[in-house]
Symmetry: C2
Amino acid sequence: MSSPLSFQTVARCKATDARVGLLSTPHGRVYTPAFLPVATRASVRGLTPEEATEVGASILLANTYHLYLQPGVDTVRAMGGLHAFMGWSGPMLTDSGGFQAFSMGSLKSVSEEGIRFRSHIDGSEHLFTPESAIGYQERLGADIILCLDECVAYGEEEARVREATERTHRWALRCREAQRSGKQALFGVLQGGVYRNLREESARFFTAQEVDGYAIGGLAVGEPKAEMYEVTRHVCAMLPEGRPRHLLGVGSPEDLVECVARGVDLFDCALPTRIARNGALLTGRGRIDITRARFQKAEGPVEEGCDCYACRNFSSAYLHHLFKAGELLGLRLATIHNLRFVLHLMEEMRHAILRDSFPAFKERFLARYRPTDERLRGEQKEKWLRRRGILGVGEGPGV
Amino acid sequence: MSSPLSFQTVARCKATDARVGLLSTPHGRVYTPAFLPVATRASVRGLTPEEATEVGASILLANTYHLYLQPGVDTVRAMGGLHAFMGWSGPMLTDSGGFQAFSMGSLKSVSEEGIRFRSHIDGSEHLFTPESAIGYQERLGADIILCLDECVAYGEEEARVREATERTHRWALRCREAQRSGKQALFGVLQGGVYRNLREESARFFTAQEVDGYAIGGLAVGEPKAEMYEVTRHVCAMLPEGRPRHLLGVGSPEDLVECVARGVDLFDCALPTRIARNGALLTGRGRIDITRARFQKAEGPVEEGCDCYACRNFSSAYLHHLFKAGELLGLRLATIHNLRFVLHLMEEMRHAILRDSFPAFKERFLARYRPTDERLRGEQKEKWLRRRGILGVGEGPGV
């Protein structure tokens, strides 16, 4: 089967593993490194497709788990597929639903057959198998689809991670087998936790398969950042040059810069849109909390020089007011600003790599950008994982 | 003082009291009959100023009560006034805050001095006097401002309504006296409940004053529709031709048509945007509930032929999904559709009056449009008024 995807490297950084690539899909081209805004339930968090284009999105990610539960994959198919349903004519990627079955629903059990979980909406029981995960994604109709994988939390023992990694490999073979249409590119999902030997095995396994690209799973699930960066570097170094690499669920500005430097081409993350809803806005110096009293009469935009719709048209004081008053427009403007910030950062990185000045750009960006405190972040992440049942009582990195 | 407003009648219906007028304000012109979308807290319910223009809005209304509490009139003034603050360059009107002090806050007392109320946000105590209501509106800086009035609920005895009407007249004189800037047009607010003699007195009083237009208050507060229409007709007939008439708080499609026929030029109402948030969408045949199962796979737009952004771009099935999934974009699309429906209806009425075919248009529209059941509406309205403390236990039309 010839791939519906083509990927070529356009430029390489001499000092780091950063690279610029051109990904061609049936719905158009994507310059990498690229960030995929999440259109979880076939909508980019309050934005229209035109607005997603305006902030600079060239490819979107939608979640199979959510769309399977609501409105159902058959409804999306009946409406002409995801692109027609949501009015997005550019490239799209769907995940397999596996990660959400862990993180959103109440996970019941993982067996060789698949992942059994309860719906977070009505508690009903469901099963994702490698075959059904592919079938659902074929009905949704994205350009790129993912193999079903088993994700384990940080802190699990090697034997447990090995079990999940090897199952993920067996499932990948079943996924490939289950594919009926040649119009969608299939990405393998690499596992292996923070264990180098398992990561190597997973990279070797998928490199030997006929997959169109590689998604790196099982990271950003509670491990320290330094470890996440190191595993990312290690995995990318083992993957062939000619296919795209997608680091799943990573998207804070500093992580994007660090992981582009380590050879990642594609990213997706709910973070920019999720924090926007709480009034956390991204700037070159770090996050600001627009609800703070100091913005009450702040005449300037959220960030001087930002070309987003919110910064071009409104004062920080107005955004502050909209959040205080609970006005929907506040969420929209914050979402637009944060997505534009991240997508503009990707543009800047592509340009820096093309001009062979990526290391200097990286240094300048990281010197100025103050990340959210890692300890606090770790605690928030753990709370999040625990609330969603990924970590049980007495489990996890903070215990 | 010469008026900052001019109003001229462009065409009159031969069979009804409907008329087309041209209202000129310091921020631009408005063809009447016109509907003012409510930008309660300096934002049209999730829409940008450009979207408000795109749905056909030419003038907006903002609420002094809400802006006084959050972000505060001094903040708005410091940010250059309402227009600059919210990025709307067209005409605007602010109400006096009196009605919201009744309906939103917990009304404490009305005395000759003014209206004492508790904030619905933090319970703090505040006083609106005729003088402060004007001062606040001057700091907000709308093109048209309103006199402070005392509104009473339907079902009150004549003596009580007379008291409120006469106090409203005394307050109007204090409002005129308090005006410092000649740049804003001042509308009187007529009261008198459903009592013809009191309505006549109020019309006579305001006709004798130097006001730039007439707002009709104290209607749509629980009285039967037939009574509301009759009072509206009666009041309009007593007002001079050369000044605009604004019916406060009225805005269901059938009411707009009926009241244009009775001589009203301006309307405002939260209804189109409020019901949109519950998935109630306006169509030529009446409201539909987009969350109903029958829209799950409905391929067509909400209304065939509608030129709004939502109907031009998305299926009913997609809107259904967005509401089911709780996606913000659903609220936006519904708000856009409902505002476009109402603003397009105003356009159609203006064109019909200009072509001298308004009676036929009215008949055709009302024959097709199925209003929400009046009994149900009355009950909803009463519940709403009661919840906000306008009606006490054992009071009101339903008792």
